[in-house]
């Protein structure tokens, strides 16, 4: 079974088509990057796949569950870390994790274990009792991703996880994402070429709501006839515009 499958998935906002007949298939355990400039349709795609926005037409499923007709089933198996850091500012790191764990499960023992697991995985013991509002941008993103993972989702959506972070914080977050690779399916949106290049198994380049190229890095380079993701991206983008 595919982790994610979309068939002619489309989202229109009045006159504007944000996502145009998207066809993608993501395997279980894969780290799949949606790469594109601002307004390419990456976030809209993630919103539709995580039941935050209804498709205008077409179909999408997460592990076989339709995102339009089986929302409850989809919400049980996904985790999302939105573009803006979505944490409860006046709660401590531990309280944020406990809160999200309780939203997903009533099992106190299991929740306590999950919280400890996340603290260890993200190396958060030094900030665990600090309120979220006092944390740096990098730490907040880590907390946000840990909150998305606390329910042990089968599919994790990371929307621009390193946007606005300095190079050290970005590298630190990459380390965490690498640790998750292969364990769960990850859909990552980014407009940083090196991020997609560094982390993903496969990449889809989105331009004006459409997939302009899809495949592994060597496949995309071959298709574009250019070396390196940035050059390939520019070649594909120019071809897409022309």
């Amino acid at each position: 079974m595919k982790a994610i499958e979309t068939k002619a998935l489309t989202k229109k906002y009045k006159e504007k088509t944000a996502v145009n007949a998207l066809d993608i298939a993501v395997e279980e355990g894969e780290l799949f990057a949606l790469l594109g400039v601002n307004g390419a349709g990456k976030t809209t795609t993630i919103r539709m796949l995580s039941c935050l926005s209804a498709p205008t037409s077409g179909e999408a499923s997460v592990l076989g569950h339709n995102v339009a007709s089986e929302k409850s089933a989809v919400k049980e198996i996904i985790g999302i870390s939105p573009q803006d850091t979505a944490v409860a500012e006046n709660l401590t790191v531990r309280e944020n994790l406990e809160f999200m764990a309780k939203v997903h499960s009533a099992d106190k023992t299991k929740n306590a274990e999950r919280v400890e697991k996340m603290i260890e995985l993200f190396g958060m013991s030094e900030v665990v009792n600090s309120r979220a509002k006092t944390l740096s941008g990098g730490w907040k993103r880590k907390v946000s991703i840990a909150m998305a993972l606390i329910s042990e989702p089968k599919v994790l959506f990371l929307d621009e996880p390193t946007l606005g972070l300095d190079v050290l914080a970005r590298r630190e977050l990459w380390k965490v994402i690498r640790q998750l690779k292969g364990k769960i399916t990850i859909i990552l949106t980014t407009h940083y070429m090196e991020e997609a290049e560094e982390l993903s198994d496969r990449i889809a380049i989105m331009i004006n709501g459409k997939v302009a190229a899809i495949g592994t890095l060597p496949e995309i380079e071959a298709e574009a006839g250019a070396q390196g993701l940035e050059n390939a991206f520019v070649a594909i983008a120019e071809r897409g515009v022309n």
Partner: protein, 256 residues
């Protein structure tokens, strides 16, 4: 139920860690009680003005304090809606009912704390001024003011859902002003009579104050207590149901 309790717990922690909650929700009623008692002491006895006597004042101030709980409800909801926190929560199995109850329960707890503080301060003032206050009456008023608290929380949710972080507090301040002036907190509307009394009777705030004052004085007649309380209960049901429906509609619109 688990999700409602988790969200309520988050909301109450957010509120109790905001210093403004203490100033407005818990401190403000005490300050108002003290100021109005000083005003009462300054009014010559011969004037026969009793609206600022603590036995009349405490019910009115208790209701007035609830208008600030409304303000905080509106701020909490509008702030959550403005950021991406609710976006994250929308992707969880939480329903609109879980969200609305998760906002209402902590605000009711804050409102209960506020009432307890207001009545304790009133009791102390009554001992100082020598104006008798019935403890039984205050306990009854505590219960009578719960529907009123629900109504104000409903108003807060409604404004917080419909308007942004900047406009929701502005709209709440209109209700705060209406609540204090037309709720007969700072003047005796019934003795004033005329158009003023008619206007006061058109809004639920007057009945909140009237039922609370009647409970405090253990004046439990139909006209003085039962009818005003029924009007407040009806208003609470209408406003809160409307707020819940609007939140649910907005949530569906956000997810469309």
């Amino acid at each position: 139920m688990n999700r409602i309790l988790a969200f309520s717990s988050r909301n109450i922690k957010e509120l109790l860690r905001d210093p403004l909650s203490y100033i407005f929700c818990l401190g403000f009623p005490i300050i108002m009680l003290i100021i109005m008692t000083v005003v009462d002491q300054s009014i010559p006895r011969e004037s026969g003005m009793t609206v600022f006597h603590i036995n009349n004042l405490c019910g009115g101030i208790a209701m007035f304090g609830q208008t600030f709980v409304m303000l905080f409800t509106a701020l909490t909801v509008s702030k959550d809606r403005a950021g991406s926190f609710l976006v994250r929560m929308y992707a969880t199995p939480m329903t609109s009912g879980d969200f609305t109850l998760g906002y209402i329960i902590p605000m009711l707890i804050i409102s209960g704390l506020q009432l307890a503080i207001t009545f304790c301060a009133s009791l102390i003032i009554s001992l100082i001024t020598g104006i008798e206050l019935s403890i039984g009456g205050m306990l009854l008023a505590f219960i009578v003011l719960i529907p009123s608290a629900v109504m104000f929380i409903g108003f807060g949710m409604l404004f917080g859902t419909l308007f942004g972080e900047k406009s929701a507090p502005g709209l709440c301040s209109i209700i705060i002003s209406l609540g204090s002036f037309l709720g007969s907190v700072f003047f005796d509307a019934e003795n004033t009579g005329g158009v003023m009394l008619t206007i006061c009777k058109c809004l639920p705030f007057f009945y909140c104050t009237k039922s609370a004052r009647s409970a405090i004085s253990l004046n439990l007649g139909v006209e003085e207590f039962v009818i005003p309380l029924l009007i407040v209960c009806g208003s609470a049901i209408v406003i809160t149901s409307l707020a819940m429906a609007v939140f649910s509609t907005k949530m569906k619109a956000d997810l469309s």
